[in-house]
């Protein structure tokens, strides 16, 4: 609900924010840095890309109500693709949890204007939702490991079906967002 927030400078919003909101902003930064650390430990070392990641994370933590966190998520995803090997191990699960935590913390900061304290019941319901989302990630991770363990050759049919699903999702997203934009 960024439009309810006052249109003042981000620094003003940071100053006026409640302790709870500062905690969420700190979580954005900490989780993004942890993700970068996972990439550093698990994959190749790219100092320049890591520094850029830190800067983007700082910007997202400073302006979580804007589209800066979208840039951060996309950047971290691309960094994961570039810098880490193709392995479905525990690091992948940790990275997925950290990426979702960044997104969730940004969502909770954007729930209202600077200075707002969220209802504890709302926070509890978001904790349950976060667990559901991560459980879905765990299921995909287990399925991926299961498929990898079978060591089946790549199938054009499966790839085509997956591509169709992804394209359907992209179409749904485009349709929904475009319709909402038209009002």
């Amino acid at each position: 609900m960024r439009s309810l927030a006052d249109p003042s400078l981000p620094l003003d919003r940071l100053t006026l924010s409640s302790g709870q909101q500062r905690g969420f902003r700190a979580a954005v930064l900490v989780c993004a840095l942890a993700f970068l650390a996972v990439v550093w430990v698990h994959g190749e070392h790219h100092p320049l890309l890591t520094v850029v990641g830190v800067l983007v994370a700082a910007q997202a933590a400073g302006m979580p109500e804007t589209n800066a966190p979208l840039v951060l998520l996309v950047y971290l995803g691309l960094l994961w693709l570039v810098a880490t090997p193709d392995r479905l191990d525990g690091w992948t699960l940790l990275a997925a949890a950290l990426l979702f935590a960044v997104h969730l913390a940004c969502t909770l900061v954007s729930h209202g204007p600077a200075g707002l304290r969220l209802d504890p019941r709302l926070l509890r319901s978001w904790a349950v939702r976060g667990a559901i989302c991560l459980a879905a990630g765990l299921l995909v991770w287990l399925a991926g490991r299961g498929v990898a363990a079978m060591q089946r050759p790549s199938s054009g049919v499966v790839l085509g079906a997956a591509l169709a699903v992804v394209l359907a999702w992209c179409g749904l997203v485009a349709l929904r967002l475009a319709r909402s934009h038209r009002g």
């Binding site: 309810l4 994961w80 479905l88 699960l93 997925a96 991560l134 790549s154 929904r176 009002g183």
Partner: protein, 439 residues
């Protein structure tokens, strides 16, 4: 209580939040990359975001909420509180509502930021967000203007913000403690509690005199009648009500007001003292009027009696705005005062205009009393030596003005709560009953 409805800032209705846009776009990108690069680990990264986006899409609300705001009460006393209620009807699909209200001086909201939120349960079709507020000082102030917005389930869509209209909150002064045992110099009227100078039904002893036709039997004074052999009765003073005009000097305010819990300015003392005197006399059945000096929009409150009239007087006191009109011309100020009315002027006596108005009233033959409302422990808010020097000069001028008032026969008393007017009223009454006294 009056309520106001709110209109959206724009007519866009429900819009996707930044959170939904982020989840759906990053999911789509990661999924495409996962397929193109053959990286199932990217699918694992995308899956939690995918679940969030899908759940948010499924909870897109259909209807449009309507927002109304109302105050629990629009009139309260200093230190009392009320609640601003913002109601959202047609709120099915709403999960979280946020209201932000502009803060106002002397109005303490809880929380102080003025932002409150409420989580809605899925079954609720109407949602009410409440913001408690306490008023710390008398006056009329707008309150409740701000913005309200709502979020759908899983923070997918947002609606608003809508602009909330302001309500006028009137805070009546909490009257200071006041009591008076002194009789009024010129009771006028038919009923009341002040002993009159004429004989009649009452409780205050006047004399024992010979019985006359028409005297009540219960007034017969038997011991004297038996001793003298002639029927005697006890006569009493009649009891009548009194008229009192309260004049509040609203042209000047000295000192920084700290509201109800803090220090009082001169105008705080004047308004609260006037309220206390009005409450005391109206509860005794007297007639009270009010005139505010230095106020442009202030209509005089005519002389009247009763509990409802107290509400009118306090409401008029709540509308006092200091320094609205410093160019008061006492020669043209009309005071509709009947003979016998006592005029009580509440002033810090720091302006020529208020002294001129006071002496003008006294010159018309009215009994005028000045209640000095300059607090002893005045917080002037400045510590520079020049400031202190200027204030000393101002006090010297004030001393001259007070001396001028006293030369005109106007008694000046400092406000000290109960008994403030007793000695003055006794003096005025003695003067009135003395041979050749004012009537």
């Amino acid at each position: 209580m009056p309520s106001t409805s709110a209109e959206p800032e724009d007519e866009a209705g429900w819009r996707p939040t930044a959170s939904l846009v982020r989840a759906s776009l990053s999911t789509a990108l990661l999924a495409v990359l996962a397929l193109l690069a053959g990286r199932p680990d990217l699918l694992v990264l995308a899956t939690p975001l995918l679940v969030h986006a899908a759940a948010a899409f499924l909870r897109r609300p259909r209807g449009t909420p309507t927002v109304r705001s109302r105050l629990g009460t629009d009139t309260l006393r200093e230190g009392d509180g009320t609640t601003l209620e913002v109601s959202l009807d047609g709120a099915s699909g709403v999960e979280h509502a946020v209201v932000g209200v502009a803060s106002r001086r002397w109005l303490a909201a809880d929380p102080p930021s003025g932002f409150v939120s409420r989580r809605s349960t899925p079954t609720e079709s109407s949602l009410t967000v409440r913001l408690p507020v306490a008023s710390l000082r008398w006056g009329r102030r707008p309150f409740g203007d701000g913005l309200a917005g709502v979020l759908s389930g899983w923070s997918g869509y947002e609606w608003g913000p809508v602009r909330l209209g302001a309500h006028t909150l009137t805070t009546l002064p909490i009257p200071g403690r006041f009591d008076s045992a002194a009789a009024f110099p010129h009771p006028i009227g038919l009923v009341g509690s002040h002993p009159s100078r004429r004989r009649g039904d009452g409780y205050e002893f006047e004399s024992i005199r010979a019985f006359r036709p028409g005297d009540r039997l219960r007034r017969v004074q038997w011991p004297v009648s038996l001793r003298t052999g002639e029927l005697h009765v006890t006569s009493t003073h009649a009891e009548e009500d009194a008229g009192i005009l309260l004049v509040v000097d609203g042209g000047v305010e000295v000192g920084a007001s700290g509201g109800l819990p803090g220090a009082a300015s001169s105008l705080d003392v004047a308004v609260r003292a006037a309220g206390a005197v009005a409450e005391h006399h109206l509860s005794r059945g007297d007639r009270v009027g009010l005139r505010v000096l230095g106020s442009v929009r202030h209509e005089p409150v005519p002389m009247s009696a009763g509990r409802m009239h107290l509400r009118r007087v306090l409401g008029a006191l709540a509308r006092v705005v200091p320094g609205e009109n410093r160019d008061l011309d006492p020669e043209h100020a009309r005071f509709r005062v009947s003979a016998g009315t006592v005029v009580v002027v509440f002033s810090a006596m720091l302006s020529q205009a208020s002294v001129a108005a006071t002496t003008m009233l006294a010159s018309r033959g009215l009994d005028v009393v000045v209640v000095d409302c300059l607090p002893g422990d005045l917080d002037l808010g400045g510590s520079e030596p020049q400031f202190a020097l200027a204030w000393r000069m101002r006090l010297l001028e004030r001393r001259a003005l007070l001396a001028r008032a006293e030369r005109a026969g106007i008694p000046v008393v400092a406000w000290r709560g109960p008994g403030t007017l007793d000695e003055v009223m006794r003096r005025l009454r003695r003067r009135a009953v003395a041979p050749g006294g004012r009537r």
